[in-house]
Symmetry: C3
Subunit: 204 residues, 3 copies
Protein backbone atom coordinates (compact mmCIF):
# COMPACT_ATOMS: atom_id res chain seq x y z
CA UNK A 1 0.00 0.00 0.00
CA UNK A 2 2.60 2.48 1.19
CA UNK A 3 4.87 1.28 -1.61
CA UNK A 4 2.25 1.62 -4.36
CA UNK A 5 1.40 5.11 -3.12
CA UNK A 6 5.08 6.01 -3.23
CA UNK A 7 5.39 4.63 -6.79
CA UNK A 8 2.31 6.61 -7.87
CA UNK A 9 3.81 9.82 -6.45
CA UNK A 10 7.11 9.12 -8.24
CA UNK A 11 5.28 8.44 -11.51
CA UNK A 12 3.29 11.69 -11.21
CA UNK A 13 6.45 13.64 -10.43
CA UNK A 14 8.27 11.99 -13.32
CA UNK A 15 5.38 12.70 -15.69
CA UNK A 16 5.39 16.36 -14.65
CA UNK A 17 9.16 16.60 -15.15
CA UNK A 18 8.94 15.03 -18.64
CA UNK A 19 5.94 17.20 -19.58
CA UNK A 20 7.64 20.40 -18.42
CA UNK A 21 10.77 19.57 -20.42
CA UNK A 22 8.61 19.30 -23.52
CA UNK A 23 6.57 22.41 -22.74
CA UNK A 24 9.70 24.52 -22.23
CA UNK A 25 11.18 23.43 -25.56
CA UNK A 26 7.85 24.20 -27.22
CA UNK A 27 7.94 27.66 -25.62
CA UNK A 28 11.40 28.25 -27.07
CA UNK A 29 9.85 27.51 -30.49
CA UNK A 30 6.99 30.01 -29.91
CA UNK A 31 4.33 27.29 -29.85
CA UNK A 32 0.87 28.26 -28.64
CA UNK A 33 -0.67 26.75 -25.50
CA UNK A 34 -2.26 23.91 -27.44
CA UNK A 35 0.99 23.04 -29.18
CA UNK A 36 2.92 23.25 -25.92
CA UNK A 37 0.38 20.98 -24.22
CA UNK A 38 0.64 18.37 -26.98
CA UNK A 39 4.45 18.46 -27.01
CA UNK A 40 4.49 18.16 -23.21
CA UNK A 41 2.00 15.30 -23.30
CA UNK A 42 3.88 13.43 -26.02
CA UNK A 43 7.16 13.84 -24.14
CA UNK A 44 5.55 12.36 -21.02
CA UNK A 45 3.48 9.53 -22.53
CA UNK A 46 5.06 8.95 -25.97
CA UNK A 47 7.50 6.29 -24.84
CA UNK A 48 4.93 4.26 -22.92
CA UNK A 49 2.47 4.62 -25.79
CA UNK A 50 4.86 3.14 -28.37
CA UNK A 51 5.73 0.38 -25.88
CA UNK A 52 2.04 -0.50 -25.44
CA UNK A 53 1.39 -0.40 -29.20
CA UNK A 54 4.33 -2.78 -29.76
CA UNK A 55 3.08 -5.01 -26.94
CA UNK A 56 -0.35 -4.85 -28.62
CA UNK A 57 -2.13 -3.63 -25.47
CA UNK A 58 -4.23 -0.55 -24.67
CA UNK A 59 -1.98 2.52 -24.15
CA UNK A 60 -1.70 3.10 -20.39
CA UNK A 61 -2.94 6.72 -20.48
CA UNK A 62 -6.27 5.65 -22.04
CA UNK A 63 -7.14 3.81 -18.84
CA UNK A 64 -6.31 6.62 -16.40
CA UNK A 65 -7.16 10.27 -16.97
CA UNK A 66 -4.58 11.84 -14.71
CA UNK A 67 -1.74 11.73 -17.23
CA UNK A 68 -3.59 14.28 -19.35
CA UNK A 69 -4.61 16.24 -16.25
CA UNK A 70 -1.09 16.39 -14.86
CA UNK A 71 0.18 17.62 -18.23
CA UNK A 72 -2.42 20.40 -18.10
CA UNK A 73 -1.26 21.36 -14.62
CA UNK A 74 2.34 21.38 -15.88
CA UNK A 75 1.35 23.75 -18.69
CA UNK A 76 -0.49 26.09 -16.31
CA UNK A 77 2.56 26.02 -14.04
CA UNK A 78 4.94 26.96 -16.86
CA UNK A 79 2.59 29.72 -18.05
CA UNK A 80 2.38 31.25 -14.56
CA UNK A 81 5.89 30.76 -13.25
CA UNK A 82 8.07 30.64 -16.36
CA UNK A 83 10.36 33.37 -15.03
CA UNK A 84 11.23 31.24 -11.98
CA UNK A 85 11.77 28.03 -13.98
CA UNK A 86 15.42 28.62 -14.77
CA UNK A 87 16.28 28.74 -11.07
CA UNK A 88 14.67 25.32 -10.70
CA UNK A 89 16.71 23.61 -13.42
CA UNK A 90 18.55 21.36 -11.00
CA UNK A 91 15.27 20.41 -9.34
CA UNK A 92 13.76 19.50 -12.72
CA UNK A 93 16.87 17.51 -13.56
CA UNK A 94 16.44 15.59 -10.30
CA UNK A 95 12.75 14.81 -10.94
CA UNK A 96 13.46 14.03 -14.59
CA UNK A 97 16.14 11.52 -13.54
CA UNK A 98 13.89 9.86 -10.94
CA UNK A 99 11.11 9.72 -13.52
CA UNK A 100 13.41 8.22 -16.15
CA UNK A 101 14.52 5.50 -13.73
CA UNK A 102 10.91 4.64 -12.89
CA UNK A 103 9.78 4.66 -16.52
CA UNK A 104 12.55 2.21 -17.46
CA UNK A 105 11.56 -0.11 -14.59
CA UNK A 106 7.86 0.11 -15.52
CA UNK A 107 8.63 -0.64 -19.17
CA UNK A 108 10.71 -3.70 -18.27
CA UNK A 109 8.19 -5.02 -15.72
CA UNK A 110 5.28 -4.70 -18.14
CA UNK A 111 7.17 -6.45 -20.96
CA UNK A 112 8.19 -9.34 -18.67
CA UNK A 113 4.56 -9.60 -17.50
CA UNK A 114 3.59 -10.08 -21.16
CA UNK A 115 5.94 -13.07 -21.34
CA UNK A 116 8.58 -11.61 -23.64
CA UNK A 117 12.27 -12.55 -23.34
CA UNK A 118 14.50 -10.21 -21.34
CA UNK A 119 16.21 -8.65 -24.38
CA UNK A 120 12.80 -7.40 -25.56
CA UNK A 121 12.17 -6.02 -22.05
CA UNK A 122 15.44 -4.06 -22.19
CA UNK A 123 14.37 -2.57 -25.54
CA UNK A 124 10.93 -1.69 -24.14
CA UNK A 125 12.45 -0.14 -21.00
CA UNK A 126 14.63 2.04 -23.23
CA UNK A 127 11.69 2.98 -25.45
CA UNK A 128 9.56 3.84 -22.39
CA UNK A 129 12.26 6.11 -21.01
CA UNK A 130 13.70 7.67 -24.14
CA UNK A 131 11.19 7.62 -27.03
CA UNK A 132 9.02 10.44 -25.69
CA UNK A 133 11.94 12.82 -26.04
CA UNK A 134 12.53 11.66 -29.61
CA UNK A 135 8.95 12.45 -30.66
CA UNK A 136 9.21 15.77 -28.78
CA UNK A 137 12.24 16.72 -30.90
CA UNK A 138 10.55 15.59 -34.12
CA UNK A 139 7.50 17.77 -33.29
CA UNK A 140 9.68 20.85 -32.70
CA UNK A 141 11.56 19.93 -35.91
CA UNK A 142 14.98 19.35 -34.32
CA UNK A 143 17.34 16.39 -34.68
CA UNK A 144 16.63 14.20 -31.61
CA UNK A 145 18.98 15.26 -28.82
CA UNK A 146 19.66 11.72 -27.57
CA UNK A 147 21.16 10.79 -30.94
CA UNK A 148 23.93 13.36 -30.64
CA UNK A 149 24.64 14.62 -27.13
CA UNK A 150 22.80 12.97 -24.29
CA UNK A 151 23.66 9.52 -22.88
CA UNK A 152 19.96 9.16 -22.08
CA UNK A 153 19.40 6.16 -24.33
CA UNK A 154 22.49 4.18 -23.32
CA UNK A 155 21.64 4.91 -19.67
CA UNK A 156 18.28 3.19 -20.15
CA UNK A 157 19.99 0.22 -21.81
CA UNK A 158 22.49 -0.04 -18.95
CA UNK A 159 19.66 -0.02 -16.41
CA UNK A 160 17.92 -2.74 -18.35
CA UNK A 161 21.03 -4.91 -18.51
CA UNK A 162 21.51 -4.59 -14.73
CA UNK A 163 17.85 -5.62 -14.28
CA UNK A 164 18.59 -8.66 -16.46
CA UNK A 165 21.72 -9.55 -14.44
CA UNK A 166 19.74 -9.25 -11.21
CA UNK A 167 17.17 -11.72 -12.58
CA UNK A 168 19.92 -14.15 -13.59
CA UNK A 169 21.48 -13.90 -10.15
CA UNK A 170 18.06 -14.75 -8.69
CA UNK A 171 17.58 -11.48 -6.80
CA UNK A 172 14.07 -10.67 -5.54
CA UNK A 173 11.84 -8.47 -7.81
CA UNK A 174 12.21 -5.49 -5.46
CA UNK A 175 16.01 -5.78 -5.60
CA UNK A 176 15.85 -6.14 -9.40
CA UNK A 177 13.82 -2.93 -9.71
CA UNK A 178 15.79 -0.90 -7.15
CA UNK A 179 19.13 -1.88 -8.69
CA UNK A 180 17.89 -0.98 -12.17
CA UNK A 181 16.55 2.40 -10.99
CA UNK A 182 19.71 3.12 -8.98
CA UNK A 183 21.85 2.33 -12.03
CA UNK A 184 19.89 4.70 -14.25
CA UNK A 185 20.06 7.50 -11.65
CA UNK A 186 23.75 6.95 -10.90
CA UNK A 187 24.88 6.86 -14.54
CA UNK A 188 22.80 9.94 -15.36
CA UNK A 189 24.32 11.91 -12.45
CA UNK A 190 27.87 10.80 -13.27
CA UNK A 191 27.32 11.51 -16.99
CA UNK A 192 26.37 15.11 -16.20
CA UNK A 193 29.02 15.61 -13.52
CA UNK A 194 31.86 14.27 -15.68
CA UNK A 195 30.32 15.34 -18.98
CA UNK A 196 30.22 11.81 -20.39
CA UNK A 197 29.19 11.32 -23.98
CA UNK A 198 28.97 8.54 -26.54
CA UNK A 199 31.66 8.64 -29.27
CA UNK A 200 30.49 10.47 -32.36
CA UNK A 201 30.43 8.39 -35.54
CA UNK A 202 32.86 10.02 -37.96
CA UNK A 203 32.15 9.75 -41.65
CA UNK A 204 35.49 10.54 -43.23
Amino acid sequence: MMESTLLLIIEIVGTIAFAISGIRLAAAKKFDWFGAYIVGLVTAIGGGTLRDILLDTTPFWMENGWYLAVTGISLAYVIMFRKQLVRLNSTFFFFDTIGLALFVVIGIQKTIAFGYPMWVAVVMGTITGAFGGVVRDILINEVPLIFRKDVYGTTCIAGGLIYWIMIITGASPVIQQLTCAATVILIRLLAVKYNWSIPVLRNN
Copy 2:
Protein backbone atom coordinates in the same frame (compact mmCIF):
# COMPACT_ATOMS: atom_id res chain seq x y z
CA MET B 1 -30.46 5.12 -46.07
CA MET B 2 -30.65 8.72 -47.24
CA GLU B 3 -28.70 9.74 -44.15
CA SER B 4 -25.92 7.17 -44.58
CA THR B 5 -25.56 8.15 -48.24
CA LEU B 6 -25.29 11.80 -47.22
CA LEU B 7 -22.64 10.91 -44.60
CA LEU B 8 -20.67 8.90 -47.18
CA ILE B 9 -20.71 11.85 -49.58
CA ILE B 10 -19.55 14.21 -46.81
CA GLU B 11 -16.77 11.80 -45.85
CA ILE B 12 -15.59 11.52 -49.46
CA VAL B 13 -15.67 15.30 -49.87
CA GLY B 14 -13.81 15.75 -46.58
CA THR B 15 -11.22 13.15 -47.56
CA ILE B 16 -10.65 14.95 -50.88
CA ALA B 17 -10.31 18.31 -49.13
CA PHE B 18 -7.76 16.90 -46.64
CA ALA B 19 -5.85 15.08 -49.39
CA ILE B 20 -5.68 18.17 -51.60
CA SER B 21 -4.37 20.28 -48.70
CA GLY B 22 -1.54 17.78 -48.28
CA ILE B 23 -0.86 17.48 -52.01
CA ARG B 24 -0.64 21.25 -52.45
CA LEU B 25 1.87 21.59 -49.59
CA ALA B 26 3.89 18.74 -51.10
CA ALA B 27 3.85 20.57 -54.44
CA ALA B 28 5.21 23.68 -52.74
CA LYS B 29 8.10 21.48 -51.55
CA LYS B 30 8.75 20.14 -55.07
CA PHE B 31 7.73 16.60 -54.17
CA ASP B 32 7.22 14.16 -57.03
CA TRP B 33 3.83 12.60 -57.76
CA PHE B 34 4.52 9.64 -55.49
CA GLY B 35 5.56 11.87 -52.60
CA ALA B 36 2.57 14.15 -53.13
CA TYR B 37 0.24 11.15 -53.16
CA ILE B 38 1.66 9.81 -49.90
CA VAL B 39 1.50 13.21 -48.19
CA GLY B 40 -2.07 13.68 -49.40
CA LEU B 41 -3.03 10.19 -48.25
CA VAL B 42 -1.44 10.62 -44.83
CA THR B 43 -3.16 13.99 -44.37
CA ALA B 44 -6.52 12.37 -45.15
CA ILE B 45 -6.19 9.06 -43.27
CA GLY B 46 -3.40 9.68 -40.75
CA GLY B 47 -5.66 10.82 -37.93
CA GLY B 48 -8.10 7.94 -38.25
CA THR B 49 -5.22 5.50 -38.57
CA LEU B 50 -3.60 6.57 -35.27
CA ARG B 51 -7.05 6.47 -33.65
CA ASP B 52 -7.62 2.90 -34.84
CA ILE B 53 -4.12 1.80 -33.76
CA LEU B 54 -4.74 3.27 -30.28
CA LEU B 55 -8.18 1.59 -30.18
CA ASP B 56 -6.38 -1.62 -31.25
CA THR B 57 -8.64 -2.18 -34.27
CA THR B 58 -7.99 -2.54 -38.01
CA PRO B 59 -7.32 0.88 -39.60
CA PHE B 60 -10.52 1.94 -41.39
CA TRP B 61 -8.87 2.43 -44.81
CA MET B 62 -7.70 -1.20 -44.89
CA GLU B 63 -11.34 -2.31 -45.10
CA ASN B 64 -12.44 0.00 -47.89
CA GLY B 65 -10.37 0.80 -50.96
CA TRP B 66 -11.92 4.11 -51.91
CA TYR B 67 -9.84 6.21 -49.51
CA LEU B 68 -6.74 5.38 -51.57
CA ALA B 69 -8.71 5.80 -54.82
CA VAL B 70 -10.09 9.19 -53.84
CA THR B 71 -6.59 10.37 -52.92
CA GLY B 72 -5.42 9.32 -56.38
CA ILE B 73 -8.26 11.28 -57.96
CA SER B 74 -7.29 14.29 -55.82
CA LEU B 75 -3.71 14.05 -57.07
CA ALA B 76 -4.83 13.81 -60.71
CA TYR B 77 -7.07 16.82 -60.12
CA VAL B 78 -4.24 18.93 -58.68
CA ILE B 79 -1.89 17.89 -61.52
CA MET B 80 -4.42 18.89 -64.17
CA PHE B 81 -6.01 21.98 -62.66
CA ARG B 82 -3.36 23.39 -60.33
CA LYS B 83 -3.56 26.83 -61.97
CA GLN B 84 -7.24 27.10 -61.06
CA LEU B 85 -6.79 25.86 -57.48
CA VAL B 86 -6.02 29.24 -55.93
CA ARG B 87 -9.38 30.60 -57.07
CA LEU B 88 -11.04 27.72 -55.23
CA ASN B 89 -9.39 28.34 -51.88
CA SER B 90 -12.62 29.33 -50.15
CA THR B 91 -14.34 26.25 -51.60
CA PHE B 92 -11.56 24.02 -50.26
CA PHE B 93 -11.78 25.75 -46.88
CA PHE B 94 -15.51 25.02 -46.82
CA PHE B 95 -15.06 21.31 -47.67
CA ASP B 96 -12.10 21.04 -45.30
CA THR B 97 -14.24 22.45 -42.47
CA ILE B 98 -17.17 20.13 -43.20
CA GLY B 99 -14.73 17.22 -43.37
CA LEU B 100 -13.09 18.20 -40.10
CA ALA B 101 -16.46 18.32 -38.35
CA LEU B 102 -17.39 14.89 -39.67
CA PHE B 103 -14.01 13.35 -38.80
CA VAL B 104 -14.32 14.57 -35.20
CA VAL B 105 -17.84 13.10 -34.94
CA ILE B 106 -16.70 9.79 -36.46
CA GLY B 107 -13.73 9.58 -34.08
CA ILE B 108 -15.91 10.21 -31.04
CA GLN B 109 -18.65 7.78 -32.15
CA LYS B 110 -16.17 4.98 -32.82
CA THR B 111 -14.41 5.46 -29.45
CA ILE B 112 -17.75 5.42 -27.58
CA ALA B 113 -18.72 2.28 -29.49
CA PHE B 114 -15.54 0.66 -28.16
CA GLY B 115 -16.76 1.39 -24.62
CA TYR B 116 -14.20 4.02 -23.63
CA PRO B 117 -15.07 6.92 -21.30
CA MET B 118 -16.03 10.22 -22.90
CA TRP B 119 -12.72 11.96 -22.17
CA VAL B 120 -10.95 9.33 -24.29
CA ALA B 121 -13.52 9.91 -27.04
CA VAL B 122 -12.77 13.65 -27.04
CA VAL B 123 -9.05 12.87 -27.42
CA MET B 124 -9.78 10.43 -30.26
CA GLY B 125 -12.07 12.91 -32.01
CA THR B 126 -9.27 15.48 -31.86
CA ILE B 127 -6.70 12.96 -33.11
CA THR B 128 -9.01 11.92 -35.97
CA GLY B 129 -9.47 15.52 -37.06
CA ALA B 130 -6.05 17.03 -36.42
CA PHE B 131 -3.32 14.36 -36.42
CA GLY B 132 -3.24 13.87 -40.20
CA GLY B 133 -2.11 17.49 -40.60
CA VAL B 134 0.63 16.95 -38.01
CA VAL B 135 2.11 13.98 -39.90
CA ARG B 136 1.74 15.97 -43.15
CA ASP B 137 3.89 18.76 -41.68
CA ILE B 138 6.45 16.28 -40.32
CA LEU B 139 6.77 14.69 -43.79
CA ILE B 140 7.38 18.06 -45.45
CA ASN B 141 9.82 18.83 -42.60
CA GLU B 142 7.95 21.82 -41.16
CA VAL B 143 6.92 22.55 -37.56
CA PRO B 144 3.26 21.40 -37.34
CA LEU B 145 1.05 24.38 -38.19
CA ILE B 146 -1.58 23.58 -35.54
CA PHE B 147 1.02 24.01 -32.79
CA ARG B 148 1.64 27.63 -33.67
CA LYS B 149 -1.06 29.35 -35.72
CA ASP B 150 -4.22 27.40 -36.36
CA VAL B 151 -6.97 26.83 -33.76
CA TYR B 152 -7.67 23.52 -35.51
CA GLY B 153 -6.83 21.37 -32.49
CA THR B 154 -8.72 23.36 -29.90
CA THR B 155 -11.70 23.49 -32.27
CA CYS B 156 -11.79 19.68 -32.29
CA ILE B 157 -11.61 19.63 -28.48
CA ALA B 158 -14.45 22.15 -28.22
CA GLY B 159 -16.59 20.05 -30.54
CA GLY B 160 -15.86 17.00 -28.43
CA LEU B 161 -16.78 18.77 -25.20
CA ILE B 162 -20.11 19.89 -26.70
CA TYR B 163 -20.73 16.29 -27.77
CA TRP B 164 -20.06 15.26 -24.14
CA ILE B 165 -22.42 17.92 -22.76
CA MET B 166 -25.15 16.80 -25.18
CA ILE B 167 -24.76 13.22 -23.88
CA ILE B 168 -25.00 14.43 -20.28
CA THR B 169 -28.13 16.43 -21.09
CA GLY B 170 -29.62 13.26 -22.57
CA ALA B 171 -29.96 14.56 -26.11
CA SER B 172 -30.55 12.01 -28.88
CA PRO B 173 -27.48 10.67 -30.77
CA VAL B 174 -28.39 12.66 -33.90
CA ILE B 175 -28.58 15.88 -31.84
CA GLN B 176 -25.27 15.00 -30.16
CA GLN B 177 -23.58 14.59 -33.53
CA LEU B 178 -25.15 17.61 -35.22
CA THR B 179 -24.35 19.90 -32.29
CA CYS B 180 -20.74 18.68 -32.25
CA ALA B 181 -20.35 19.16 -36.01
CA ALA B 182 -22.05 22.58 -35.90
CA THR B 183 -19.73 23.66 -33.08
CA VAL B 184 -16.61 22.66 -35.03
CA ILE B 185 -17.84 24.43 -38.18
CA LEU B 186 -18.95 27.56 -36.33
CA ILE B 187 -15.73 27.96 -34.31
CA ARG B 188 -13.61 27.39 -37.43
CA LEU B 189 -15.50 30.02 -39.41
CA LEU B 190 -15.42 32.54 -36.56
CA ALA B 191 -11.72 31.83 -35.94
CA VAL B 192 -10.89 32.69 -39.54
CA LYS B 193 -13.27 35.66 -39.76
CA TYR B 194 -12.03 37.27 -36.52
CA ASN B 195 -8.50 35.87 -36.82
CA TRP B 196 -8.66 34.03 -33.50
CA SER B 197 -5.53 32.37 -32.19
CA ILE B 198 -4.34 30.55 -29.07
CA PRO B 199 -1.97 32.58 -26.84
CA VAL B 200 1.66 31.89 -27.64
CA LEU B 201 3.71 30.43 -24.78
CA ARG B 202 6.44 32.95 -23.99
CA ASN B 203 9.73 31.67 -22.67
CA ASN B 204 11.30 34.75 -21.12
Copy 3:
Protein backbone atom coordinates in the same frame (compact mmCIF):
# COMPACT_ATOMS: atom_id res chain seq x y z
CA MET C 1 15.25 -26.34 -46.40
CA MET C 2 17.85 -25.12 -48.84
CA GLU C 3 15.39 -22.46 -50.00
CA SER C 4 14.54 -21.22 -46.49
CA THR C 5 18.25 -21.02 -45.67
CA LEU C 6 18.81 -19.00 -48.83
CA LEU C 7 15.93 -16.67 -47.93
CA LEU C 8 17.34 -16.19 -44.42
CA ILE C 9 20.74 -15.27 -45.85
CA ILE C 10 19.12 -12.81 -48.27
CA GLU C 11 17.09 -11.26 -45.43
CA ILE C 12 20.20 -10.88 -43.25
CA VAL C 13 22.13 -9.33 -46.13
CA GLY C 14 19.22 -7.00 -46.90
CA THR C 15 18.90 -6.00 -43.26
CA ILE C 16 22.62 -5.21 -43.11
CA ALA C 17 22.37 -3.14 -46.32
CA PHE C 18 19.39 -1.16 -44.99
CA ALA C 19 21.03 -0.68 -41.57
CA ILE C 20 24.31 0.52 -43.09
CA SER C 21 22.47 3.04 -45.28
CA GLY C 22 20.90 4.49 -42.14
CA ILE C 23 24.12 4.40 -40.14
CA ARG C 24 26.06 6.23 -42.86
CA LEU C 25 23.47 9.01 -43.09
CA ALA C 26 23.56 9.29 -39.29
CA ALA C 27 27.34 9.58 -39.47
CA ALA C 28 27.00 12.43 -41.97
CA LYS C 29 24.86 14.18 -39.34
CA LYS C 30 27.48 13.64 -36.59
CA PHE C 31 25.26 11.28 -34.61
CA ASP C 32 26.88 9.32 -31.78
CA TRP C 33 27.08 5.53 -31.85
CA PHE C 34 23.76 5.16 -30.05
CA GLY C 35 21.99 7.50 -32.46
CA ALA C 36 23.58 5.79 -35.46
CA TYR C 37 22.50 2.39 -34.15
CA ILE C 38 18.90 3.53 -33.70
CA VAL C 39 18.76 5.16 -37.13
CA GLY C 40 20.26 2.02 -38.70
CA LEU C 41 17.83 -0.20 -36.82
CA VAL C 42 14.80 1.91 -37.74
CA THR C 43 15.87 1.95 -41.40
CA ALA C 44 16.11 -1.84 -41.37
CA ILE C 45 13.01 -2.76 -39.34
CA GLY C 46 10.81 0.36 -39.51
CA GLY C 47 8.85 -0.71 -42.57
CA GLY C 48 8.09 -4.19 -41.29
CA THR C 49 7.21 -2.78 -37.88
CA LEU C 50 4.56 -0.38 -39.26
CA ARG C 51 3.25 -3.24 -41.42
CA ASP C 52 2.88 -5.51 -38.39
CA ILE C 53 1.24 -2.74 -36.30
CA LEU C 54 -1.28 -2.13 -39.12
CA LEU C 55 -1.86 -5.90 -39.41
CA ASP C 56 -2.32 -5.91 -35.62
CA THR C 57 0.31 -8.59 -35.05
CA THR C 58 3.53 -8.71 -33.00
CA PRO C 59 6.36 -6.84 -34.78
CA PHE C 60 8.60 -9.45 -36.41
CA TRP C 61 11.83 -8.30 -34.71
CA MET C 62 10.34 -8.90 -31.24
CA GLU C 63 10.25 -12.63 -31.98
CA ASN C 64 13.81 -12.98 -33.26
CA GLY C 65 16.83 -11.26 -31.72
CA TRP C 66 19.13 -11.30 -34.71
CA TYR C 67 17.71 -8.16 -36.33
CA LEU C 68 19.07 -6.10 -33.43
CA ALA C 69 22.30 -8.12 -33.42
CA VAL C 70 22.88 -7.71 -37.15
CA THR C 71 22.34 -3.95 -36.81
CA GLY C 72 24.99 -3.89 -34.08
CA ILE C 73 27.39 -5.76 -36.34
CA SER C 74 26.63 -3.26 -39.11
CA LEU C 75 27.48 -0.38 -36.76
CA ALA C 76 30.74 -2.01 -35.68
CA TYR C 77 31.58 -2.57 -39.34
CA VAL C 78 30.97 1.07 -40.26
CA ILE C 79 33.01 2.26 -37.25
CA MET C 80 35.97 0.08 -38.20
CA PHE C 81 35.95 0.27 -41.97
CA ARG C 82 34.28 3.59 -42.76
CA LYS C 83 37.21 4.69 -44.96
CA GLN C 84 36.69 1.68 -47.23
CA LEU C 85 32.91 2.07 -47.43
CA VAL C 86 32.86 4.48 -50.36
CA ARG C 87 34.65 1.94 -52.54
CA LEU C 88 31.87 -0.54 -51.74
CA ASN C 89 28.98 1.71 -52.79
CA SER C 90 28.02 -0.45 -55.76
CA THR C 91 28.14 -3.53 -53.55
CA PHE C 92 25.84 -1.87 -51.01
CA PHE C 93 23.51 -0.80 -53.80
CA PHE C 94 23.37 -4.41 -54.97
CA PHE C 95 22.57 -5.78 -51.49
CA ASP C 96 20.14 -2.96 -50.83
CA THR C 97 18.27 -3.79 -54.04
CA ILE C 98 18.15 -7.52 -53.26
CA GLY C 99 16.96 -6.69 -49.75
CA LEU C 100 14.29 -4.32 -51.03
CA ALA C 101 12.94 -7.00 -53.38
CA LEU C 102 12.78 -9.54 -50.56
CA PHE C 103 11.16 -7.10 -48.12
CA VAL C 104 8.42 -6.31 -50.64
CA VAL C 105 7.75 -10.02 -51.21
CA ILE C 106 7.71 -10.72 -47.44
CA GLY C 107 5.30 -7.83 -46.83
CA ILE C 108 2.91 -9.04 -49.52
CA GLN C 109 3.07 -12.69 -48.43
CA LYS C 110 2.38 -11.84 -44.79
CA THR C 111 -0.59 -9.59 -45.67
CA ILE C 112 -2.13 -12.27 -47.91
CA ALA C 113 -1.61 -14.81 -45.12
CA PHE C 114 -3.68 -12.52 -42.87
CA GLY C 115 -6.53 -12.76 -45.39
CA TYR C 116 -6.48 -9.17 -46.69
CA PRO C 117 -7.35 -8.33 -50.31
CA MET C 118 -4.48 -7.93 -52.75
CA TRP C 119 -4.61 -4.13 -52.89
CA VAL C 120 -3.87 -4.04 -49.15
CA ALA C 121 -1.00 -6.48 -49.75
CA VAL C 122 0.51 -4.13 -52.37
CA VAL C 123 0.32 -1.26 -49.87
CA MET C 124 1.95 -3.41 -47.16
CA GLY C 125 4.69 -4.58 -49.51
CA THR C 126 5.45 -0.95 -50.32
CA ILE C 127 5.41 0.02 -46.63
CA THR C 128 7.70 -2.89 -45.76
CA GLY C 129 10.21 -1.87 -48.42
CA ALA C 130 10.05 1.91 -48.27
CA PHE C 131 8.80 3.15 -44.88
CA GLY C 132 12.04 2.44 -42.99
CA GLY C 133 13.83 4.99 -45.17
CA VAL C 134 11.10 7.55 -44.48
CA VAL C 135 11.51 7.25 -40.70
CA ARG C 136 15.29 7.34 -41.18
CA ASP C 137 14.99 10.69 -42.98
CA ILE C 138 12.59 12.05 -40.34
CA LEU C 139 15.07 11.11 -37.58
CA ILE C 140 17.94 12.91 -39.33
CA ASN C 141 15.55 15.83 -39.92
CA GLU C 142 15.56 15.72 -43.73
CA VAL C 143 12.66 15.66 -46.19
CA PRO C 144 12.19 11.95 -47.06
CA LEU C 145 14.29 11.19 -50.14
CA ILE C 146 11.72 8.90 -51.75
CA PHE C 147 9.23 11.77 -51.95
CA ARG C 148 11.48 13.81 -54.21
CA LYS C 149 14.22 11.88 -56.02
CA ASP C 150 14.18 8.14 -55.70
CA VAL C 151 11.73 5.84 -57.54
CA TYR C 152 11.99 3.51 -54.55
CA GLY C 153 8.32 3.73 -53.62
CA THR C 154 6.89 3.32 -57.11
CA THR C 155 9.27 0.40 -57.65
CA CYS C 156 7.72 -1.36 -54.66
CA ILE C 157 4.23 -0.67 -56.02
CA ALA C 158 5.19 -2.02 -59.45
CA GLY C 159 6.57 -5.19 -57.86
CA GLY C 160 3.34 -5.59 -55.91
CA LEU C 161 1.17 -5.14 -59.01
CA ILE C 162 3.20 -7.81 -60.87
CA TYR C 163 2.71 -10.12 -57.87
CA TRP C 164 -1.03 -9.43 -58.16
CA ILE C 165 -1.06 -10.14 -61.90
CA MET C 166 0.83 -13.40 -61.32
CA ILE C 167 -1.84 -14.46 -58.82
CA ILE C 168 -4.63 -13.61 -61.30
CA THR C 169 -2.86 -15.59 -64.02
CA GLY C 170 -2.76 -18.54 -61.62
CA ALA C 171 1.03 -18.78 -61.42
CA SER C 172 2.53 -20.84 -58.58
CA PRO C 173 3.53 -19.02 -55.36
CA VAL C 174 7.23 -19.40 -56.15
CA ILE C 175 6.70 -17.84 -59.59
CA GLN C 176 4.63 -15.05 -58.02
CA GLN C 177 7.43 -14.23 -55.59
CA LEU C 178 10.31 -14.53 -58.06
CA THR C 179 8.53 -12.37 -60.65
CA CYS C 180 7.78 -9.71 -58.03
CA ALA C 181 11.37 -9.71 -56.78
CA ALA C 182 12.78 -9.68 -60.32
CA THR C 183 10.55 -6.73 -61.19
CA VAL C 184 11.72 -4.71 -58.20
CA ILE C 185 15.39 -5.47 -58.94
CA LEU C 186 15.06 -4.79 -62.67
CA ILE C 187 13.21 -1.47 -62.28
CA ARG C 188 15.67 -0.30 -59.62
CA LEU C 189 18.68 -1.12 -61.83
CA LEU C 190 17.12 0.51 -64.91
CA ALA C 191 16.06 3.54 -62.86
CA VAL C 192 19.64 4.13 -61.77
CA LYS C 193 21.20 3.32 -65.15
CA TYR C 194 18.85 5.60 -67.10
CA ASN C 195 18.34 8.05 -64.26
CA TRP C 196 14.58 7.57 -64.15
CA SER C 197 12.52 9.79 -61.87
CA ILE C 198 8.87 10.49 -61.09
CA PRO C 199 7.53 13.81 -62.46
CA VAL C 200 7.76 16.61 -59.93
CA LEU C 201 4.45 18.19 -58.95
CA ARG C 202 4.62 21.85 -59.98
CA ASN C 203 2.71 24.37 -57.95
CA ASN C 204 2.52 27.34 -60.26
